[in-house]
Subunit: 295 residues, 2 copies
């Protein structure tokens, strides 16, 4: 099998979008998603759904797209020759809770085809806490590992490592968060990978929402709030400086507002911030510097 059925992928990835968005609206309880449909000049389009209100979820984006056409300017994702055609579809999710004790969550699941070579899947899920709750990291990684263990095609160890390597702020010598899974260019045993991708997508709510639910009511001090905004600056640094998808999208005429819907709503940059020794803030940074095995 060198391709899967595009319609089948689109139906599934659209349902992932609507199911996850519904879960978030239920949990937030105060705001609904603004839903924007957009068309792409060169072919295809998408649905960008953004929630921002006064409830526990300060900002969330749950985006779906299916785009196709000529490969833009040179290599797309390093796989397609210039001038060839491509098809890419997927769902991406980002959740920025208001409470600094609740971690930010990101996931995306994508399917690609070109007119040369086999099709492939890419994606993953990762968690970015601002305060370290080891139970949260263990729960999150445990759910992802469980999905991997039920699918011989999945390589949990390699994809956990790839996640730590990819979501790295090299200029800070620290990771963006406590990791998760990251995989790309999976073009062998495509049917088995597709079965894994569906299971992973179906588990995203279970991986994240219990954590969100138990942290959104935590009491917050002004110092914790300040730390949250400053650490969100690091999140923005990663997305704008290092994230290949963001940079590729911005430089090849992707829909800017959909791409940058991933950025945190409120951010601070202050000079020379260092957490106090042996503080909870220092404990987080320690884990970001030296990723752990959480399962």
């Amino acid at each position: 099998m060198s391709h899967i059925d595009r319609t089948e992928f689109e139906t599934w990835s659209r349902r992932l979008q609507s199911d996850f968005a519904a879960d978030l609206e239920r949990l937030d309880g105060t705001a609904g998603f603004r839903r924007d449909r957009w068309e792409r000049g060169g072919g295809g389009g998408g649905d960008t759904w953004v929630l921002s209100g006064d409830g526990p979820i300060e900002k969330a984006a749950v985006n779906w797209s299916a785009v196709w056409g000529e490969v833009p300017g040179g290599l797309a994702e390093g796989r397609a020759a210039a001038g060839s055609t491509f098809y890419a579809s997927g769902t991406s999710i980002i959740v920025h809770p208001r409470n600094p004790h609740a971690p930010t969550f990101h996931a995306n699941l994508r399917y690609f085809e070109t007119d040369v070579g086999p099709a492939w899947f890419g994606g993953g899920a990762d968690l970015t806490p601002w305060y370290l709750y080891e139970d949260d990291a263990r729960h999150f990684h445990g759910v992802l590992r469980g999905a991997c263990e039920r699918h011989p095609v999945a390589d949990h160890r390699a994809w956990k490592q790839a996640c730590d390597d990819y979501f790295r702020l090299h200029h800070r010598e620290e990771g963006r968060g406590v990791g998760g899974l990251f995989f790309d260019h999976l073009d062998e045993r495509l049917g088995e990978v597709w079965a894994f991708v569906q299971e992973l997508g179906g588990l995203l709510s279970e991986a994240y929402l219990p954590i969100l639910r138990r942290r959104i009511g935590t009491t917050v001090t002004p110092d914790q709030e300040l730390w949250h905004l400053r650490r969100r600056g690091r999140y923005a640094e990663f997305n704008l400086v290092w994230d290949r998808g963001t940079r590729f999208g911005l430089q090849t005429g992707g829909r800017t507002e959909s791409i940058l819907a991933s950025l945190p709503p409120r951010v601070r940059w202050d000079y020379g911030v260092e957490p106090a020794p042996r503080s909870p803030e220092a404990a987080l940074v320690e884990v970001l510097r030296r990723p752990r095995d959480w399962t």
Copy 2:
């Protein structure tokens, strides 16, 4: 003349740092600069001075450095072959006022040498308003143009255009601000360029501080404050996505805190923000999309 005297440049650029910083402290009236001296492993170091307080200047960085050694990983600034040695020194300035009616200011003046070819100067100055006051743009550009007109080696028309071209958020199809001057790789008539650079440096306070003084007391509405934070998001996008100096510095092991001292202190990213038609906010965006001749 293929080089100038390094000591002379360093003496001058250090004085520019201390003079401009003193002017800012006087104007702010509430806070002083935190002064950090740092050493670079491969050779040289710098003085990073950052002001952040509760006064009219929310954050300012006035940085000086002189670094030298092996050219890091490939081409430095596109001029030096890998493995050769370089020397680079300069002063850079960024001022983020608290009041949205007061524009952000940026300038830097740099001198480079390598062990092959002639030395060169680079730099410039540019203004980023959040609300358009045409008088401010005219004053700023007028001072810069005056400096150019007194030096036959300066090409005001080309450097104004280069500034508009360089400080462009291509993914937004708009400029960062209302421009100013931008020049680089000026390696001919080096003595004349050096005289121009000294005049320009000496005029930076005159170009910016009168504008700052007359805007910092303007009454601010909550909507103007919100606009300010959102537009500062665009400033951060430019610096992190497009600015060659920032990206080069972060990717080659420059001192992260000094490089990112340029980022605004408080920032917002909200989805799908559009200014109301015929509003002051829309008037600014119009000018950012289609740069004007202000002199």
